[in-house]
């Protein structure tokens, strides 16, 4: 599905109000009796929220960057770990009455989507003084002028409109007929705190607030890109009439979220590419190429997410899945069938980004 918003040639500066504007819909999106963001045109096409100006703006910033001869960040799909359990495995579980792990997974996805709203609280330093080159007419200059806020509203909803959190809940409830939510859902999220790293900043020579902001944006961008696998999984599973009570409504709902997420990936990709194309002023009045900083973050994040974190999460899930399978008639056979459907995956040796600050690089 594509939006109807056309780029305005040459326009690179937008107000916050414009970047948060949605335009008119012929029909609103109602999910689970809740008015959600976005809506439909006369011909039934779904239109994402807050894209009336945001979509053409991102397009224009991206175009300018490439016309100036700079590259856009590209995260290869080969780095994206597969969903576990995959669609076939999840379907097998549901067909055998093992619903709890899937309900839990869908609920966790909805909550984690909602946490995306935290992006509105990112502290943004005065960027103009931290870069050598000008920032006017860039995505970077618009982060606090509507881009972060639009992202936050899309994820958790705003005022009388639901967002992706409520849309994922609706997809789950449509497909699995308002299932009982496992009592340990919040413990799964809040119980897995990572030990606080005591390593200090990676780039002590740059403004600490800028480092935190860029690291956070890089992390969110990778999560958003990897979420593509989650959307495909959600659509594949919830639109399957064999296990879904309302395959059309549930599948469509996930595809609407997928469509809404595209501007998030694109503005983050554009803004971080703009940093890569620029030079950062250090605190001791020297300079460091933005590409060194961004590539370092991306290398570290992709390395961790495609290796350790993926393995840990898989191990943790597997333990829980085996436990949940005990409700099936023949848990042993079910586990064998489940494992037979697994797809082997080895992360690529390289992330595609160069690290200059990791111990290995040193």
């Amino acid at each position: 599905m594509s939006t109807v918003h056309e780029p305005e040639p040459g326009r690179l500066v937008y107000t916050e109000q414009e970047l948060l504007a949605s335009g008119d819909y012929a029909e609103p999106l109602i999910a689970n009796e809740i008015r959600c963001h976005g809506g439909f045109l006369e011909d039934g096409t779904y239109l994402s929220p807050r894209t009336q100006h945001r979509a053409p703006a991102i397009h224009a910033w991206k175009q300018r960057l490439t016309q100036q001869g700079h590259e856009l960040i590209d995260i290869p799909r080969s780095l994206m770990p597969p969903q576990y359990p995959n669609v076939a495995q999840a379907k097998l579980l549901l067909c055998n009455g093992v619903r709890e792990p899937i309900v839990r997974a869908l609920t966790i996805i909805s909550i984690v989507e909602g946490f995306g709203a935290m992006i509105r609280d990112v502290r943004v330093p005065k960027l103009e003084s931290l870069f050598v080159e000008a920032l006017e007419g860039t995505a970077l200059a618009h982060l606090t002028q509507g881009l972060f806020e639009a992202h936050a509203r899309d994820e958790s909803g705003y005022r009388d409109e639901g967002g992706h959190k409520q849309m994922w809940e609706a997809a789950r409830d449509e497909a699995l007929e308002n299932p009982k939510i496992p009592g340990d859902v919040l413990m799964r999220i809040m119980g897995r705190r990572q030990k606080r790293a005591k390593t200090g900043p990676i780039f002590p020579e740059i403004d600490p607030q800028l480092e935190r902001m860029l690291a956070f944006m890089s992390q969110v961008m990778v999560i958003e890109i990897f979420a593509e696998g989650t959307f495909e999984w959600g659509i594949g599973l919830l639109s399957d009439p064999e296990i879904s009570a309302n395959p059309k409504a549930a599948g469509d709902m996930v595809s609407f979220i997928q469509q809404d997420e595209k501007p998030h990936v694109e503005y983050l990709r554009t803004a971080l590419s703009e940093v890569r194309a620029r030079t950062i002023r250090t605190v001791d009045e020297k300079e460091i190429p933005g590409s060194v900083v961004i590539d370092e973050f991306l290398h570290r994040i992709l390395h961790a997410m495609s290796r350790n974190r993926q393995r840990d999460q898989r191990d943790d899930l597997r333990e829980n899945l085996i436990q949940a399978m005990q409700v099936a008639q023949d848990p042993k056979t079910l586990l064998e069938e489940f494992d037979a459907l697994d797809q082997a995956w080895t992360p690529p040796a390289e992330t595609g980004f160069t690290s200059t600050r990791s111990p290995a690089a040193a």
């Binding site: 809740i34 008015r35 984690v112 909602g114 946490f115 709203a117 935290m118 509105r120 609280d121 936050a152 958790s156 909803g157 705003y158 005022r159 009388d160 409109e161 639901g162 967002g163 959190k165 409520q166 939510i181 009592g183 340990d184 859902v185 919040l186 413990m187 999220i189 809040m190 119980g191 897995r192 705190r193 990572q194 030990k195 606080r196």
Partner: protein, 441 residues
């Protein structure tokens, strides 16, 4: 299930005869007199104004009256101590019922009282453990580490060399409390009989009776501490003292002695090489995990109960006021707090309903108005993930201004916890970022 629901101390029983009759009468007269003065200071002027055709008191006049009344109640509590201190502390958490002037005064009611003599404490320990002190401890400090309205704590050493803290309940406290609670119950009944539109004080008194009952039961406290300790067993950032149940009774609690830097001592925290922002975020994580994810929590996070070790571990002490939440309540609370902090009024409405908030008329309009009032704060900036004291006040102001018939008492307790945490955060020059803590970050 409540860890020790079956073992609860029953404070609704009649006071025993062993309490000095003169003391009982004196306490009864003091409470009764204060109640009569408070009631008449509100009712007589308004009746007189009605009869003489004068307009009702202005907001400013009423505010002055609330101030004077709050000061009178506070003075009574500081004079009588025991349950009156507890009552003031409890009233100070109910900003959904009482005006801000009451809350501001009564929340100053601290729990520190002069300690009982060592001989009294020794007698309690020996009677409870059914052994002489020297048969259990190789050392027992005569001066307490801390003393409060219900008990005091002494440092001691077990015969095997382990250093412990011994919490000892005052010998006559149960009787004093029973007497005071019986007096207050009588006064509330009289008040409800005479006042045509009474505040619902009896349910508050029942809640207070339950809470004090929990606090007086050290076996329950020990079991809660062990549950929380098990919850954080794998978390290197948290330290909950080990309880020695074999040496404990309902009135004596023996636990591992754990010390540290007081959580609000920013200078010492920094001197230890710790970042107060990290300390605060660890503390927030402990509380959201207990309240929202586990559904049971230590409900008294005041600075006297929270410490930081030199290694940066958060120490949580005193599980006397601990609470078990009903099944599903944590998820409902999560939804309410999350929707509040992300300005989603539709989700807020659903959460109010799921948590058991009810309006007098049965419709949802008052909740929509509250939700809109809270969400309108986004016009003047974001909450930045923080559930502040101001937000709690704003929420309860909105609830008081609208006809909300039922506010779940568990919610009130949780709101108080986050409000206390927000206060600690401000002392540390940090923020109590609930949103980040909820996300596991």
């Amino acid at each position: 299930m409540d860890a020790a629901r079956g073992d609860r101390i029953h404070l609704d029983a009649k006071p025993s005869r062993c309490m000095n009759l003169r003391t009982r009468i004196q306490r009864t007269i003091k409470v009764g007199w204060t109640a009569a003065v408070v009631w008449s200071s509100y009712k007589l002027p308004s009746t007189a104004r009605r009869l003489t055709g004068r307009p009702p008191r202005t907001d400013a006049e009423l505010s002055q009256r609330h101030e004077r009344t709050a000061r009178r109640i506070l003075a009574l509590a500081l004079d009588m101590r025991g349950v009156m201190i507890k009552m003031c502390q409890a009233l100070a958490t109910r900003s959904d019922v009482f005006p801000p002037e009451f809350i501001a005064h009564l929340k100053q009611c601290h729990d520190a009282v002069p300690p009982k003599p060592y001989s009294v404490i020794q007698a309690v320990v020996e009677r409870e453990l059914k052994k002489p002190l020297a048969a259990v401890f190789s050392e027992f400090d005569q001066a307490p580490l801390a003393s409060a309205s219900l008990a005091q704590v002494h440092r001691a050493r077990l015969l095997d060399g382990r250093e412990v803290a011994v919490k000892v309940q005052y010998p006559d406290i149960e009787d004093i409390i029973r007497n005071d609670l019986a007096n207050m119950r009588r006064i509330c009944r009289i008040y409800e009989f005479f006042d045509p539109q009474p505040l619902a004080l009896l349910p508050l008194l029942t809640e207070l009776t339950n809470h004090i009952g929990y606090e007086l039961d050290f076996v329950r406290e020990g079991k809660f501490a062990e549950r929380v300790r098990a919850l954080f067993a794998a978390d290197e950032q948290v330290k909950i003292p080990e309880i020695y149940p074999d040496l404990g009774t309902h009135r004596v609690l023996v636990m591992e002695l754990v010390g540290g830097i007081k959580i609000t001592d920013k200078k010492k925290i920094e001197a230890a090489g710790l970042d107060p922002v990290d300390v605060m975020q660890d503390l927030m994580h402990i509380y959201v995990r207990m309240i929202l994810a586990a559904g049971f929590f230590q409900a008294d996070p005041h600075p006297g109960n929270l410490f930081v070790t030199e290694e940066g571990k958060i120490v949580v002490l005193d599980f006397g006021l601990s609470k078990e939440l009903p099944e599903g309540f944590g998820l409902g609370l999560f939804e309410l707090m999350f929707s509040l902090m992300t300005f989603n009024e539709t989700a807020m409405l659903r959460a109010f309903d799921e948590l058991g908030f009810r309006s007098k008329t049965g419709d949802t309009k008052p909740f929509l108005l509250i939700a809109r009032r809270m969400v309108s704060r986004s016009d003047s900036g974001s909450f930045e993930g923080e559930f502040t004291e101001e937000m709690t006040s704003e929420l309860f102001d909105a609830i008081r201004d609208d006809p909300i018939a039922q506010v779940p008492s568990d919610f009130v307790l949780v709101a108080r916890v986050f409000s206390l945490l927000s206060g600690i955060a401000h002392t540390l020059g940090s923020r109590a970022n609930v949103l980040a803590a909820m996300s596991g970050g």
